[in-house]
Symmetry: C2
Subunit: 323 residues, 2 copies
Protein backbone atom coordinates (compact mmCIF):
# COMPACT_ATOMS: atom_id res chain seq x y z
CA UNK A 1 0.00 0.00 0.00
CA UNK A 2 1.20 3.51 -0.82
CA UNK A 3 0.75 6.62 1.29
CA UNK A 4 -1.17 8.29 -1.53
CA UNK A 5 -3.67 5.45 -1.48
CA UNK A 6 -4.30 5.92 2.24
CA UNK A 7 -4.53 9.62 1.75
CA UNK A 8 -7.07 9.23 -1.04
CA UNK A 9 -9.22 7.04 1.14
CA UNK A 10 -9.38 9.69 3.85
CA UNK A 11 -9.49 12.72 1.60
CA UNK A 12 -13.25 13.29 1.87
CA UNK A 13 -13.04 13.38 5.66
CA UNK A 14 -9.84 15.42 5.61
CA UNK A 15 -11.69 17.93 3.45
CA UNK A 16 -14.41 18.08 6.06
CA UNK A 17 -11.75 18.75 8.69
CA UNK A 18 -10.43 21.52 6.46
CA UNK A 19 -13.91 22.98 6.20
CA UNK A 20 -14.23 22.97 9.99
CA UNK A 21 -10.90 24.76 10.28
CA UNK A 22 -11.97 27.47 7.86
CA UNK A 23 -15.34 27.78 9.51
CA UNK A 24 -13.89 28.02 13.03
CA UNK A 25 -11.32 30.59 12.07
CA UNK A 26 -13.60 32.82 10.08
CA UNK A 27 -14.48 35.23 12.81
CA UNK A 28 -15.01 38.54 11.09
CA UNK A 29 -11.75 39.91 12.41
CA UNK A 30 -9.59 40.87 9.47
CA UNK A 31 -6.23 40.42 11.11
CA UNK A 32 -7.12 37.09 12.67
CA UNK A 33 -8.88 35.72 9.63
CA UNK A 34 -5.91 36.63 7.50
CA UNK A 35 -3.24 35.25 9.78
CA UNK A 36 -5.15 32.08 10.63
CA UNK A 37 -6.24 31.68 7.05
CA UNK A 38 -2.66 31.88 5.91
CA UNK A 39 -1.84 29.07 8.31
CA UNK A 40 -4.62 26.89 6.97
CA UNK A 41 -3.76 27.57 3.37
CA UNK A 42 -0.07 26.93 4.01
CA UNK A 43 -1.31 23.40 4.38
CA UNK A 44 0.96 20.81 5.77
CA UNK A 45 0.08 17.18 5.58
CA UNK A 46 -2.59 17.21 8.30
CA UNK A 47 -0.86 14.21 9.78
CA UNK A 48 -2.52 14.60 13.16
CA UNK A 49 -6.06 14.68 11.77
CA UNK A 50 -5.15 11.78 9.49
CA UNK A 51 -3.97 9.68 12.42
CA UNK A 52 -7.10 10.59 14.36
CA UNK A 53 -9.32 9.61 11.44
CA UNK A 54 -7.59 6.29 10.85
CA UNK A 55 -7.61 5.43 14.56
CA UNK A 56 -11.28 6.32 14.83
CA UNK A 57 -11.96 3.32 12.55
CA UNK A 58 -10.99 1.07 15.44
CA UNK A 59 -14.05 2.34 17.27
CA UNK A 60 -17.74 1.75 16.87
CA UNK A 61 -18.72 1.99 13.16
CA UNK A 62 -22.01 3.51 14.27
CA UNK A 63 -20.34 6.29 16.24
CA UNK A 64 -20.98 9.95 15.43
CA UNK A 65 -18.48 11.04 12.74
CA UNK A 66 -19.05 14.72 13.50
CA UNK A 67 -17.36 14.27 16.84
CA UNK A 68 -14.38 12.57 15.25
CA UNK A 69 -14.03 15.33 12.68
CA UNK A 70 -14.20 18.04 15.33
CA UNK A 71 -11.59 16.34 17.46
CA UNK A 72 -9.37 16.00 14.39
CA UNK A 73 -9.76 19.70 13.63
CA UNK A 74 -9.11 20.67 17.26
CA UNK A 75 -5.87 18.67 17.21
CA UNK A 76 -4.70 20.47 14.08
CA UNK A 77 -5.55 23.81 15.65
CA UNK A 78 -3.42 23.04 18.70
CA UNK A 79 -0.64 22.06 16.33
CA UNK A 80 -0.98 25.29 14.35
CA UNK A 81 -0.99 27.30 17.59
CA UNK A 82 2.30 25.77 18.68
CA UNK A 83 3.80 26.42 15.23
CA UNK A 84 2.89 30.11 15.36
CA UNK A 85 4.29 30.52 18.85
CA UNK A 86 7.43 28.58 17.98
CA UNK A 87 8.01 30.86 15.03
CA UNK A 88 7.76 33.92 17.26
CA UNK A 89 10.15 32.41 19.74
CA UNK A 90 12.57 31.22 17.08
CA UNK A 91 12.41 34.43 15.04
CA UNK A 92 11.63 32.09 12.15
CA UNK A 93 10.98 33.58 8.72
CA UNK A 94 10.01 30.47 6.79
CA UNK A 95 7.50 27.74 7.58
CA UNK A 96 6.73 25.11 4.96
CA UNK A 97 8.60 27.31 2.52
CA UNK A 98 6.24 30.25 3.13
CA UNK A 99 6.86 33.44 5.10
CA UNK A 100 5.68 32.87 8.69
CA UNK A 101 2.74 34.66 10.30
CA UNK A 102 5.32 36.45 12.42
CA UNK A 103 7.06 37.84 9.34
CA UNK A 104 3.90 38.81 7.52
CA UNK A 105 1.90 40.24 10.41
CA UNK A 106 4.46 40.86 13.17
CA UNK A 107 5.23 39.18 16.47
CA UNK A 108 2.28 40.64 18.31
CA UNK A 109 -0.49 39.39 16.02
CA UNK A 110 1.38 36.09 15.77
CA UNK A 111 1.29 35.64 19.52
CA UNK A 112 -2.40 36.37 19.79
CA UNK A 113 -3.15 34.27 16.72
CA UNK A 114 -1.58 31.38 18.64
CA UNK A 115 -3.64 32.16 21.74
CA UNK A 116 -6.72 32.42 19.60
CA UNK A 117 -6.09 29.04 17.99
CA UNK A 118 -5.62 27.44 21.41
CA UNK A 119 -8.83 28.95 22.69
CA UNK A 120 -10.73 28.02 19.55
CA UNK A 121 -9.59 24.43 19.74
CA UNK A 122 -10.83 24.24 23.34
CA UNK A 123 -14.09 25.83 22.32
CA UNK A 124 -14.52 23.35 19.49
CA UNK A 125 -13.86 20.47 21.86
CA UNK A 126 -16.58 21.70 24.21
CA UNK A 127 -19.06 20.88 21.44
CA UNK A 128 -17.95 17.24 21.52
CA UNK A 129 -19.35 16.67 25.01
CA UNK A 130 -16.84 14.13 26.17
CA UNK A 131 -15.28 15.32 29.44
CA UNK A 132 -12.61 12.61 29.25
CA UNK A 133 -11.51 13.93 25.84
CA UNK A 134 -11.23 17.41 27.33
CA UNK A 135 -9.16 16.15 30.16
CA UNK A 136 -6.78 14.31 27.84
CA UNK A 137 -6.42 17.34 25.60
CA UNK A 138 -5.92 19.79 28.49
CA UNK A 139 -3.28 17.53 30.00
CA UNK A 140 -1.53 17.25 26.65
CA UNK A 141 -1.53 21.02 26.23
CA UNK A 142 0.00 21.52 29.64
CA UNK A 143 2.76 19.04 28.88
CA UNK A 144 3.41 20.53 25.45
CA UNK A 145 3.95 23.90 27.13
CA UNK A 146 6.31 22.29 29.61
CA UNK A 147 8.20 20.85 26.66
CA UNK A 148 8.54 24.30 25.16
CA UNK A 149 9.93 25.59 28.43
CA UNK A 150 12.31 22.60 28.61
CA UNK A 151 13.59 23.57 25.22
CA UNK A 152 14.39 27.09 26.37
CA UNK A 153 15.99 25.84 29.56
CA UNK A 154 18.19 23.43 27.60
CA UNK A 155 19.37 25.99 25.04
CA UNK A 156 23.18 26.06 24.72
CA UNK A 157 23.46 23.34 27.35
CA UNK A 158 26.05 20.90 26.06
CA UNK A 159 25.80 18.76 29.17
CA UNK A 160 22.20 17.72 28.76
CA UNK A 161 21.68 13.98 28.56
CA UNK A 162 20.00 11.74 26.02
CA UNK A 163 17.20 11.42 28.53
CA UNK A 164 16.72 15.20 28.61
CA UNK A 165 16.52 15.17 24.84
CA UNK A 166 14.05 12.29 24.70
CA UNK A 167 11.80 13.83 27.32
CA UNK A 168 11.85 17.12 25.50
CA UNK A 169 10.90 15.72 22.10
CA UNK A 170 8.25 13.55 23.72
CA UNK A 171 6.52 16.67 24.98
CA UNK A 172 7.32 18.80 22.00
CA UNK A 173 6.20 16.39 19.28
CA UNK A 174 5.39 12.82 20.22
CA UNK A 175 2.68 13.77 22.66
CA UNK A 176 0.34 15.47 20.19
CA UNK A 177 0.68 12.66 17.65
CA UNK A 178 0.09 10.17 20.42
CA UNK A 179 -2.96 12.10 21.63
CA UNK A 180 -4.25 12.31 18.05
CA UNK A 181 -4.29 8.53 17.82
CA UNK A 182 -5.73 8.17 21.30
CA UNK A 183 -8.54 10.69 20.95
CA UNK A 184 -9.53 9.63 17.45
CA UNK A 185 -10.08 6.11 18.78
CA UNK A 186 -11.61 7.18 22.08
CA UNK A 187 -14.18 9.57 20.69
CA UNK A 188 -15.29 6.87 18.24
CA UNK A 189 -15.90 4.52 21.15
CA UNK A 190 -12.94 2.15 20.76
CA UNK A 191 -12.17 -0.26 23.60
CA UNK A 192 -9.84 1.07 26.32
CA UNK A 193 -7.03 -1.39 25.51
CA UNK A 194 -7.21 -0.48 21.81
CA UNK A 195 -7.07 3.22 22.70
CA UNK A 196 -3.99 2.57 24.83
CA UNK A 197 -2.29 0.62 22.06
CA UNK A 198 -2.95 3.34 19.51
CA UNK A 199 -1.66 5.97 21.91
CA UNK A 200 1.58 4.02 22.24
CA UNK A 201 1.83 3.63 18.48
CA UNK A 202 1.50 7.39 18.17
CA UNK A 203 4.14 7.96 20.81
CA UNK A 204 6.80 5.84 19.07
CA UNK A 205 5.89 7.26 15.69
CA UNK A 206 6.12 10.81 17.01
CA UNK A 207 9.48 10.21 18.65
CA UNK A 208 10.93 8.86 15.40
CA UNK A 209 9.35 11.76 13.54
CA UNK A 210 11.09 14.38 15.67
CA UNK A 211 14.45 12.59 15.49
CA UNK A 212 14.25 12.61 11.71
CA UNK A 213 13.25 16.26 11.83
CA UNK A 214 16.30 17.00 13.93
CA UNK A 215 18.50 15.14 11.45
CA UNK A 216 17.03 17.18 8.60
CA UNK A 217 18.41 20.28 10.26
CA UNK A 218 21.87 18.94 9.42
CA UNK A 219 21.41 17.24 6.09
CA UNK A 220 18.20 18.62 4.64
CA UNK A 221 17.88 20.46 1.39
CA UNK A 222 16.52 23.90 2.16
CA UNK A 223 14.31 23.87 -0.92
CA UNK A 224 12.69 20.60 0.19
CA UNK A 225 12.61 21.10 3.94
CA UNK A 226 11.66 24.77 3.77
CA UNK A 227 14.03 25.83 6.52
CA UNK A 228 17.69 26.58 6.81
CA UNK A 229 20.29 23.91 7.52
CA UNK A 230 22.00 24.60 10.84
CA UNK A 231 19.04 26.59 12.17
CA UNK A 232 18.94 24.62 15.41
CA UNK A 233 22.62 25.24 16.11
CA UNK A 234 22.24 28.89 15.20
CA UNK A 235 19.64 29.19 17.94
CA UNK A 236 21.50 27.09 20.47
CA UNK A 237 18.91 24.33 20.20
CA UNK A 238 21.07 21.28 20.81
CA UNK A 239 19.35 18.24 19.39
CA UNK A 240 20.56 14.67 19.34
CA UNK A 241 22.93 14.94 16.36
CA UNK A 242 24.84 17.75 18.08
CA UNK A 243 24.77 16.02 21.45
CA UNK A 244 26.07 12.80 19.91
CA UNK A 245 28.92 14.63 18.17
CA UNK A 246 29.81 16.42 21.39
CA UNK A 247 29.46 13.60 23.85
CA UNK A 248 30.03 10.35 21.97
CA UNK A 249 32.36 11.52 19.24
CA UNK A 250 34.44 13.77 21.49
CA UNK A 251 33.92 16.95 19.49
CA UNK A 252 32.24 18.79 22.36
CA UNK A 253 34.98 21.27 23.17
CA UNK A 254 35.37 22.25 19.54
CA UNK A 255 31.62 22.69 19.04
CA UNK A 256 31.09 24.63 22.25
CA UNK A 257 33.91 27.00 21.34
CA UNK A 258 32.64 27.53 17.81
CA UNK A 259 29.17 28.33 19.06
CA UNK A 260 30.02 30.13 22.28
CA UNK A 261 28.97 33.61 21.17
CA UNK A 262 26.19 34.42 18.71
CA UNK A 263 27.74 32.39 15.88
CA UNK A 264 28.40 33.62 12.35
CA UNK A 265 27.04 31.70 9.36
CA UNK A 266 30.55 30.36 8.73
CA UNK A 267 30.83 29.09 12.31
CA UNK A 268 27.49 27.38 12.05
CA UNK A 269 28.49 25.80 8.73
CA UNK A 270 31.67 24.55 10.34
CA UNK A 271 29.75 23.12 13.28
CA UNK A 272 27.30 21.41 10.92
CA UNK A 273 30.26 19.79 9.17
CA UNK A 274 31.66 18.55 12.48
CA UNK A 275 28.33 17.00 13.39
CA UNK A 276 28.01 15.36 9.97
CA UNK A 277 31.53 13.93 10.13
CA UNK A 278 31.01 12.57 13.63
CA UNK A 279 28.72 9.72 12.63
CA UNK A 280 25.85 11.44 14.44
CA UNK A 281 23.50 11.25 11.48
CA UNK A 282 23.76 7.47 11.20
CA UNK A 283 23.42 7.14 14.95
CA UNK A 284 20.24 9.21 15.15
CA UNK A 285 18.77 7.54 12.10
CA UNK A 286 19.37 4.16 13.71
CA UNK A 287 17.71 5.30 16.90
CA UNK A 288 14.75 6.64 14.91
CA UNK A 289 14.56 3.23 13.20
CA UNK A 290 14.28 1.55 16.57
CA UNK A 291 11.36 3.76 17.53
CA UNK A 292 9.74 3.14 14.17
CA UNK A 293 10.10 -0.59 14.72
CA UNK A 294 8.56 -0.29 18.15
CA UNK A 295 5.63 1.54 16.62
CA UNK A 296 5.11 -1.30 14.15
CA UNK A 297 5.52 -3.91 16.87
CA UNK A 298 2.84 -2.21 18.94
CA UNK A 299 0.41 -2.45 16.02
CA UNK A 300 0.62 -6.25 16.10
CA UNK A 301 -1.43 -6.07 19.29
CA UNK A 302 -4.42 -4.89 17.23
CA UNK A 303 -6.77 -7.04 15.19
CA UNK A 304 -5.65 -7.54 11.62
CA UNK A 305 -7.58 -5.06 9.55
CA UNK A 306 -6.84 -2.59 6.80
CA UNK A 307 -6.48 0.38 9.17
CA UNK A 308 -3.58 -1.34 10.85
CA UNK A 309 -1.71 -1.38 7.59
CA UNK A 310 -2.75 2.20 6.90
CA UNK A 311 -1.18 3.32 10.15
CA UNK A 312 2.04 1.53 9.28
CA UNK A 313 2.08 3.17 5.86
CA UNK A 314 1.49 6.67 7.21
CA UNK A 315 4.13 6.15 9.90
CA UNK A 316 6.63 4.99 7.29
CA UNK A 317 5.76 7.97 5.14
CA UNK A 318 6.15 10.64 7.79
CA UNK A 319 9.36 9.08 9.04
CA UNK A 320 10.86 8.46 5.67
CA UNK A 321 10.91 12.01 4.42
CA UNK A 322 13.35 12.54 1.58
CA UNK A 323 16.75 14.00 2.37
CA UNK B 1 -19.56 48.59 54.65
CA UNK B 2 -15.85 48.94 53.79
CA UNK B 3 -13.94 46.99 51.17
CA UNK B 4 -11.60 45.66 53.84
CA UNK B 5 -14.57 44.19 55.67
CA UNK B 6 -15.71 42.30 52.58
CA UNK B 7 -12.18 41.22 51.91
CA UNK B 8 -11.82 39.89 55.45
CA UNK B 9 -14.97 37.89 55.12
CA UNK B 10 -13.68 36.13 52.01
CA UNK B 11 -10.06 35.90 53.06
CA UNK B 12 -10.21 32.22 54.13
CA UNK B 13 -11.58 31.20 50.75
CA UNK B 14 -9.24 33.52 48.87
CA UNK B 15 -6.39 31.81 50.68
CA UNK B 16 -7.69 28.48 49.47
CA UNK B 17 -7.74 29.87 45.93
CA UNK B 18 -4.15 30.98 46.47
CA UNK B 19 -3.23 27.49 47.63
CA UNK B 20 -4.78 26.00 44.49
CA UNK B 21 -2.78 28.43 42.36
CA UNK B 22 0.48 27.46 44.03
CA UNK B 23 -0.37 23.80 43.85
CA UNK B 24 -1.34 23.94 40.17
CA UNK B 25 1.75 25.83 39.18
CA UNK B 26 4.22 23.76 41.11
CA UNK B 27 5.20 21.41 38.33
CA UNK B 28 8.80 20.52 38.99
CA UNK B 29 9.98 22.70 36.13
CA UNK B 30 12.34 25.27 37.53
CA UNK B 31 11.81 27.93 34.93
CA UNK B 32 8.04 27.58 34.96
CA UNK B 33 7.73 27.32 38.70
CA UNK B 34 9.85 30.41 39.09
CA UNK B 35 8.11 32.50 36.49
CA UNK B 36 4.61 31.42 37.49
CA UNK B 37 5.50 31.66 41.18
CA UNK B 38 6.64 35.20 40.65
CA UNK B 39 3.30 36.01 39.12
CA UNK B 40 1.42 34.53 42.06
CA UNK B 41 3.57 36.26 44.62
CA UNK B 42 3.32 39.57 42.80
CA UNK B 43 -0.23 39.35 44.06
CA UNK B 44 -2.81 41.72 42.83
CA UNK B 45 -6.15 42.02 44.44
CA UNK B 46 -7.58 38.75 43.14
CA UNK B 47 -10.63 40.70 42.09
CA UNK B 48 -11.85 38.03 39.71
CA UNK B 49 -11.79 35.23 42.30
CA UNK B 50 -13.37 37.60 44.80
CA UNK B 51 -16.25 38.37 42.45
CA UNK B 52 -16.66 34.66 41.74
CA UNK B 53 -16.74 33.82 45.45
CA UNK B 54 -19.24 36.53 46.30
CA UNK B 55 -21.49 35.61 43.37
CA UNK B 56 -21.35 31.94 44.32
CA UNK B 57 -23.26 32.88 47.47
CA UNK B 58 -26.30 33.52 45.30
CA UNK B 59 -26.32 29.81 44.54
CA UNK B 60 -27.28 26.75 46.53
CA UNK B 61 -25.74 26.97 50.04
CA UNK B 62 -25.29 23.19 49.93
CA UNK B 63 -23.28 23.31 46.68
CA UNK B 64 -19.73 21.94 46.50
CA UNK B 65 -17.33 24.73 47.51
CA UNK B 66 -14.37 22.93 45.93
CA UNK B 67 -15.84 23.55 42.51
CA UNK B 68 -16.32 27.22 43.23
CA UNK B 69 -12.74 27.54 44.46
CA UNK B 70 -11.36 25.81 41.39
CA UNK B 71 -13.35 27.98 39.04
CA UNK B 72 -12.11 31.04 40.93
CA UNK B 73 -8.51 29.87 40.60
CA UNK B 74 -8.97 29.06 36.90
CA UNK B 75 -10.29 32.57 36.28
CA UNK B 76 -7.24 34.10 37.96
CA UNK B 77 -4.95 31.87 35.88
CA UNK B 78 -6.54 33.08 32.66
CA UNK B 79 -6.08 36.62 33.92
CA UNK B 80 -2.41 35.99 34.74
CA UNK B 81 -1.87 34.41 31.32
CA UNK B 82 -3.20 37.48 29.56
CA UNK B 83 -1.01 39.72 31.75
CA UNK B 84 2.14 37.80 30.84
CA UNK B 85 1.34 37.87 27.14
CA UNK B 86 0.39 41.54 27.28
CA UNK B 87 3.72 42.34 28.88
CA UNK B 88 5.55 40.54 26.09
CA UNK B 89 3.59 42.38 23.48
CA UNK B 90 3.90 45.73 25.23
CA UNK B 91 7.61 45.30 26.03
CA UNK B 92 6.50 46.15 29.57
CA UNK B 93 9.10 46.23 32.31
CA UNK B 94 6.89 46.81 35.33
CA UNK B 95 3.73 45.08 36.50
CA UNK B 96 2.27 45.93 39.88
CA UNK B 97 5.51 47.76 40.57
CA UNK B 98 7.59 44.60 40.05
CA UNK B 99 9.80 43.63 37.11
CA UNK B 100 7.69 41.61 34.65
CA UNK B 101 8.24 37.93 33.86
CA UNK B 102 9.41 39.12 30.45
CA UNK B 103 12.14 41.25 31.98
CA UNK B 104 13.26 38.67 34.51
CA UNK B 105 13.12 35.57 32.35
CA UNK B 106 12.98 36.82 28.77
CA UNK B 107 10.28 36.99 26.13
CA UNK B 108 10.41 33.32 25.26
CA UNK B 109 9.77 31.88 28.70
CA UNK B 110 7.17 34.59 29.23
CA UNK B 111 5.28 33.48 26.15
CA UNK B 112 5.28 29.84 27.16
CA UNK B 113 4.48 30.73 30.76
CA UNK B 114 1.35 32.37 29.39
CA UNK B 115 0.51 29.33 27.27
CA UNK B 116 1.13 27.11 30.27
CA UNK B 117 -1.21 29.16 32.46
CA UNK B 118 -3.95 28.98 29.81
CA UNK B 119 -3.56 25.23 29.51
CA UNK B 120 -3.45 24.75 33.27
CA UNK B 121 -6.60 26.76 33.76
CA UNK B 122 -8.38 24.58 31.21
CA UNK B 123 -7.04 21.47 32.90
CA UNK B 124 -8.22 22.69 36.28
CA UNK B 125 -11.67 23.37 34.85
CA UNK B 126 -11.89 19.81 33.52
CA UNK B 127 -11.93 18.66 37.16
CA UNK B 128 -15.08 20.69 37.76
CA UNK B 129 -17.18 18.51 35.47
CA UNK B 130 -19.56 21.14 34.28
CA UNK B 131 -19.56 21.19 30.46
CA UNK B 132 -21.53 24.44 30.43
CA UNK B 133 -18.84 26.12 32.52
CA UNK B 134 -16.21 24.91 30.04
CA UNK B 135 -18.16 26.28 27.18
CA UNK B 136 -18.56 29.68 28.81
CA UNK B 137 -14.88 29.83 29.66
CA UNK B 138 -13.71 28.69 26.20
CA UNK B 139 -15.96 31.24 24.57
CA UNK B 140 -14.64 33.96 26.85
CA UNK B 141 -11.06 33.02 26.05
CA UNK B 142 -11.71 33.20 22.33
CA UNK B 143 -13.25 36.65 22.68
CA UNK B 144 -10.45 37.86 24.91
CA UNK B 145 -7.97 36.88 22.20
CA UNK B 146 -10.07 38.69 19.63
CA UNK B 147 -9.91 41.74 21.88
CA UNK B 148 -6.13 41.54 21.96
CA UNK B 149 -6.06 41.42 18.19
CA UNK B 150 -8.49 44.35 18.03
CA UNK B 151 -6.09 46.33 20.15
CA UNK B 152 -3.23 45.68 17.74
CA UNK B 153 -5.39 46.51 14.74
CA UNK B 154 -6.47 49.78 16.33
CA UNK B 155 -2.96 50.95 17.26
CA UNK B 156 -2.23 54.47 16.04
CA UNK B 157 -5.68 54.67 14.50
CA UNK B 158 -7.01 58.12 15.36
CA UNK B 159 -10.22 57.53 13.42
CA UNK B 160 -11.53 54.69 15.52
CA UNK B 161 -14.92 55.37 17.05
CA UNK B 162 -16.21 55.27 20.62
CA UNK B 163 -17.89 52.04 19.66
CA UNK B 164 -14.56 50.48 18.59
CA UNK B 165 -13.13 51.49 21.95
CA UNK B 166 -16.06 50.10 23.93
CA UNK B 167 -16.02 46.81 22.08
CA UNK B 168 -12.31 46.49 22.61
CA UNK B 169 -12.39 47.09 26.35
CA UNK B 170 -15.37 44.80 26.67
CA UNK B 171 -13.31 41.95 25.31
CA UNK B 172 -10.08 43.00 26.90
CA UNK B 173 -11.36 43.52 30.43
CA UNK B 174 -15.08 43.51 31.06
CA UNK B 175 -15.59 40.01 29.73
CA UNK B 176 -13.42 38.18 32.24
CA UNK B 177 -14.92 40.08 35.17
CA UNK B 178 -18.35 39.39 33.79
CA UNK B 179 -17.54 35.70 33.36
CA UNK B 180 -16.13 35.59 36.89
CA UNK B 181 -19.47 36.71 38.28
CA UNK B 182 -21.38 34.43 35.94
CA UNK B 183 -19.39 31.26 36.57
CA UNK B 184 -19.11 31.77 40.33
CA UNK B 185 -22.89 31.85 40.49
CA UNK B 186 -23.47 29.15 37.91
CA UNK B 187 -21.15 26.55 39.39
CA UNK B 188 -22.79 27.10 42.77
CA UNK B 189 -26.15 26.31 41.23
CA UNK B 190 -27.71 29.78 41.14
CA UNK B 191 -30.90 30.28 39.12
CA UNK B 192 -30.42 31.16 35.44
CA UNK B 193 -31.91 34.66 35.79
CA UNK B 194 -29.66 35.38 38.77
CA UNK B 195 -26.62 34.18 36.80
CA UNK B 196 -27.58 36.50 33.96
CA UNK B 197 -28.02 39.45 36.27
CA UNK B 198 -24.65 38.87 37.90
CA UNK B 199 -23.00 38.55 34.51
CA UNK B 200 -24.43 41.94 33.55
CA UNK B 201 -23.27 43.45 36.83
CA UNK B 202 -19.77 42.14 36.03
CA UNK B 203 -19.92 43.58 32.55
CA UNK B 204 -20.77 47.12 33.67
CA UNK B 205 -18.27 46.95 36.50
CA UNK B 206 -15.53 45.73 34.17
CA UNK B 207 -16.23 48.44 31.62
CA UNK B 208 -15.95 51.15 34.28
CA UNK B 209 -12.83 49.47 35.61
CA UNK B 210 -11.04 49.66 32.26
CA UNK B 211 -12.09 53.25 31.64
CA UNK B 212 -10.62 54.24 35.00
CA UNK B 213 -7.49 52.26 34.15
CA UNK B 214 -7.20 54.17 30.90
CA UNK B 215 -7.60 57.48 32.75
CA UNK B 216 -4.84 56.45 35.17
CA UNK B 217 -2.48 56.29 32.23
CA UNK B 218 -2.85 60.06 31.99
CA UNK B 219 -3.14 61.17 35.58
CA UNK B 220 -1.81 58.30 37.68
CA UNK B 221 1.08 58.51 40.08
CA UNK B 222 3.70 56.06 38.87
CA UNK B 223 4.53 55.03 42.42
CA UNK B 224 0.88 54.13 43.08
CA UNK B 225 -0.13 52.74 39.70
CA UNK B 226 3.15 50.90 39.11
CA UNK B 227 3.37 51.91 35.47
CA UNK B 228 4.49 54.93 33.53
CA UNK B 229 2.16 57.81 32.74
CA UNK B 230 1.76 58.13 28.97
CA UNK B 231 2.60 54.46 28.36
CA UNK B 232 -0.48 53.92 26.21
CA UNK B 233 0.35 56.88 23.97
CA UNK B 234 3.96 55.77 23.77
CA UNK B 235 2.76 52.47 22.31
CA UNK B 236 0.14 53.97 20.04
CA UNK B 237 -2.65 52.50 22.17
CA UNK B 238 -5.34 55.12 21.73
CA UNK B 239 -7.79 54.89 24.59
CA UNK B 240 -10.83 57.00 25.26
CA UNK B 241 -9.05 60.01 26.82
CA UNK B 242 -6.89 60.40 23.69
CA UNK B 243 -9.81 59.79 21.35
CA UNK B 244 -11.92 62.38 23.16
CA UNK B 245 -9.15 64.96 22.99
CA UNK B 246 -8.67 64.26 19.28
CA UNK B 247 -12.26 64.00 18.17
CA UNK B 248 -14.39 66.01 20.61
CA UNK B 249 -11.89 68.63 21.69
CA UNK B 250 -10.43 69.18 18.22
CA UNK B 251 -6.83 68.42 19.18
CA UNK B 252 -6.53 65.49 16.78
CA UNK B 253 -4.20 67.02 14.24
CA UNK B 254 -1.82 68.23 16.92
CA UNK B 255 -1.79 64.85 18.67
CA UNK B 256 -1.36 62.82 15.51
CA UNK B 257 1.56 64.99 14.45
CA UNK B 258 3.25 64.80 17.84
CA UNK B 259 2.97 61.02 17.86
CA UNK B 260 3.45 60.29 14.19
CA UNK B 261 6.89 58.69 14.50
CA UNK B 262 8.19 56.70 17.45
CA UNK B 263 7.68 59.57 19.92
CA UNK B 264 10.28 60.91 22.33
CA UNK B 265 9.54 61.15 26.05
CA UNK B 266 9.08 64.89 25.63
CA UNK B 267 6.56 64.43 22.83
CA UNK B 268 4.60 61.95 24.90
CA UNK B 269 4.62 64.32 27.86
CA UNK B 270 3.34 67.09 25.61
CA UNK B 271 0.60 64.82 24.27
CA UNK B 272 -0.39 63.82 27.80
CA UNK B 273 -0.74 67.52 28.65
CA UNK B 274 -2.94 68.11 25.62
CA UNK B 275 -5.21 65.25 26.62
CA UNK B 276 -5.40 66.48 30.21
CA UNK B 277 -6.23 70.03 29.15
CA UNK B 278 -8.93 68.87 26.74
CA UNK B 279 -11.45 67.90 29.38
CA UNK B 280 -11.04 64.26 28.42
CA UNK B 281 -10.38 63.10 31.96
CA UNK B 282 -13.65 64.49 33.29
CA UNK B 283 -15.50 63.11 30.27
CA UNK B 284 -14.16 59.58 30.71
CA UNK B 285 -14.70 59.68 34.45
CA UNK B 286 -18.31 60.68 33.86
CA UNK B 287 -18.77 57.84 31.42
CA UNK B 288 -17.21 55.41 33.89
CA UNK B 289 -19.65 56.74 36.49
CA UNK B 290 -22.54 55.91 34.21
CA UNK B 291 -21.35 52.34 33.84
CA UNK B 292 -20.82 52.11 37.57
CA UNK B 293 -24.38 53.32 38.13
CA UNK B 294 -25.70 50.77 35.68
CA UNK B 295 -23.86 48.05 37.59
CA UNK B 296 -25.54 49.16 40.79
CA UNK B 297 -28.92 49.42 39.09
CA UNK B 298 -28.58 45.87 37.83
CA UNK B 299 -28.00 44.66 41.38
CA UNK B 300 -31.44 45.92 42.41
CA UNK B 301 -32.87 43.01 40.43
CA UNK B 302 -31.42 40.60 43.01
CA UNK B 303 -32.92 39.73 46.36
CA UNK B 304 -31.80 42.00 49.17
CA UNK B 305 -29.01 40.19 50.95
CA UNK B 306 -25.59 41.01 52.29
CA UNK B 307 -23.77 39.75 49.16
CA UNK B 308 -25.57 42.33 47.08
CA UNK B 309 -24.04 45.07 49.20
CA UNK B 310 -20.69 43.32 49.09
CA UNK B 311 -20.71 43.41 45.30
CA UNK B 312 -21.52 47.11 45.33
CA UNK B 313 -18.68 47.72 47.78
CA UNK B 314 -16.13 45.78 45.76
CA UNK B 315 -17.25 47.48 42.54
CA UNK B 316 -16.91 50.89 44.19
CA UNK B 317 -13.48 49.94 45.46
CA UNK B 318 -12.05 48.70 42.17
CA UNK B 319 -13.49 51.66 40.33
CA UNK B 320 -12.51 54.26 42.87
CA UNK B 321 -8.80 53.70 42.81
CA UNK B 322 -6.82 56.66 44.10
CA UNK B 323 -5.26 59.02 41.60
Amino acid sequence: MEFQEVYRRYRPELQQVEAILFDQLRVGEDALTESSGQLIRAGGKRIRPLFALICSRFGDPASDRTRVLRVAAALEMVHMATLVHDDVVDDASLRRGQPTVRVRFGNRPAMYTGDFLFAKSIQLLTTVERPDVHRDMARAMVRICQGEIDQIRDLHNWRQTLRDYLRRIERKTALLISVSCQLGAKVAGARADVVRTLRRFGYYTGMAFQMIDDVLDYVGDERVVGKRVGGDLMQGNLTLPALYAAQQAGRGKELAELLSGPPSAAEVAKAVDIVRESGAIAYVQALADRYREKAIAVLSGLEDRVEREELAVVAAFVNGRAY
